[in-house]
Amino acid sequence: MTAPQKIGMQTIAFQSPPVIISTGSVVGSREGDGPLAGTFDKVVADTYYGEKTWEKAEQRMMFDSMKKALQKANLQENDIDFMLAGDLLNQIISSTFTARSLGIPFLGLYGACSTMYESLAVGAMMIGGGFADRVLAGTSSHYCTAERQYRFPVEQGTQRPMTAQWTVTGAGSMILAKEGSGPVITHATIGRVIDMGQGDSQDMGAAMAPAAADTIARHFMDTGRTPEDYDLIITGDLATYGKRLTEELLKQKGYDISKRYTDCGILIYSGSQDVHAGGSGCGCSAVVTCGYLMELLNSERYRRILGIGTGALLSSCSLQQGETVPGIGHAVVIESLKERK
């Protein structure tokens, strides 16, 4: 017997779509100087956020974004059934330490920079399957914590190629609920890990683009939809060159998405901010989705969005041992159906 809510090979179609009743977003100063500044709940100027270390600052950002989401929905911690979160730091400490403070039953997730969309997909399944009424999902990243873990000390002078990206400092959180008002999650397409043999750690867009293209094409096949069914198709953090590659790969598969396609990593900074190819990190798709995209959906400027969280599944160890960089992409369809019961 087939699963009643699964269609095609990789897609879930929710029979009663979970509602995004609230979001919270906190960003750093560079993101606050960017074109989307007005869509975030809070901009933090200090990279330490008044804490002793950058890791603690990142935790505080995630904590604040979740508190903000709760506060906007007029809910308390004990109104939430489960919390789903992940981040880039070793053993996802930003998430676990935030869960320690909030005290909500917690499942840690890791999908690198695709974690926001991974947690949305899993959270929606928990609600759609009847296992929870309200789920809190979130993720975070911080330029300084990511730099020191994956690359060099922050004050180390280096020159980056134009394909390099800038890790977003920010945290985004959403509350999914069985009922309420707000945009709804109608579909989720779970991605496969795709490795096309790319190993350049300074060109993550090229490593992730095949996974994004694979998931998008699979989503169209599973649902029988076309790019024209969406007002916007948006990937998580492929940035300038990854976006072009995704368009090209999908063209080869027979889908032209170029007219309605953009990337969170391109939107979050302006060209004059010297971030090279664009933004990256868990926080990139999280804050753009929780801030900007929610605003577009809530104002009904866009009615249906296909968002694809993209992740590069590497570690500093795998990189040093000469492994290539596999990518993953998880797609979620968000529609602006208001006042659902």
């Binding site: 002793k52 270390t53 950058w54 890791e55 020191r148 060099f152 000390p153 922050v154 004050e155 180390q156 002078g157 280096t158 020159q159 980056r160 190629p161 134009m162 394909t163 496969r192 890990v193 795709i194 490795d195 096309m196 043999g197 790319q198 060109d203 090229a206 095949p210 694979d214 094409a217 699979r218 060159y241 072009r244 590659l245 090209e248 790969l249």
Partner: protein, 151 residues
């Protein structure tokens, strides 16, 4: 799309597309600014050497004193968050001179202070400079042996 395995052919085809879409490295621009920035740092070094010579130090002493001064300035600029911008702009011009070496020592020292003085600063101080020292010393040693036998 069936099956997960990706053939070598697919990987090669993709590598071609990636290459085609990759922006050209701005090599000439980078070389030019590396020359200007690196040259300027050397100019400052020479300026200090001249000062120390005029104050009565021997050439050898003046060289050492100038190096120490450059190291101090680079360390200070690293602490002020300026030196990484110089290297970002100047590339090798900021990394190769002795000031770049100072930067690669001070940056980890600042960074790993959060993990404590022993396992943080103590263990990680040479993360960037370490490989340079190890292979620099090894190369000097190998060259010395060759010199001993073939001079």
């Amino acid at each position: 799309m069936s099956g997960a395995a990706i053939s070598e052919k697919q990987k090669q085809d993709y590598a071609k597309i990636v290459k085609q879409f990759k922006p050209a490295q701005r090599i000439w621009r980078n070389i030019f600014w590396a020359f200007i920035v690196g040259g300027f740092i050397c100019l400052i070094g020479q300026f200090f050497i001249n000062i120390f010579l005029s104050q009565g130090l021997s050439t050898k002493e003046a060289n050492s004193a100038a190096s120490s001064t450059l190291i101090f300035i680079a360390a200070l600029l690293t602490g002020l968050g300026v030196y990484d911008e110089i290297s970002r702009f100047g590339g090798a011009g900021g990394i190769v001179p002795i000031t770049g070496f100072a930067n690669s020592m001070v940056a980890p020292a600042m960074e790993y202070r959060a993990e404590g003085l022993i396992f943080g600063v103590g263990a990680k101080l040479f993360t960037i400079a370490g490989p340079v020292l190890v292979w620099g010393i090894f190369t000097a040693w190998a060259a010395a042996i060759l010199y001993y036998f073939f001079k």
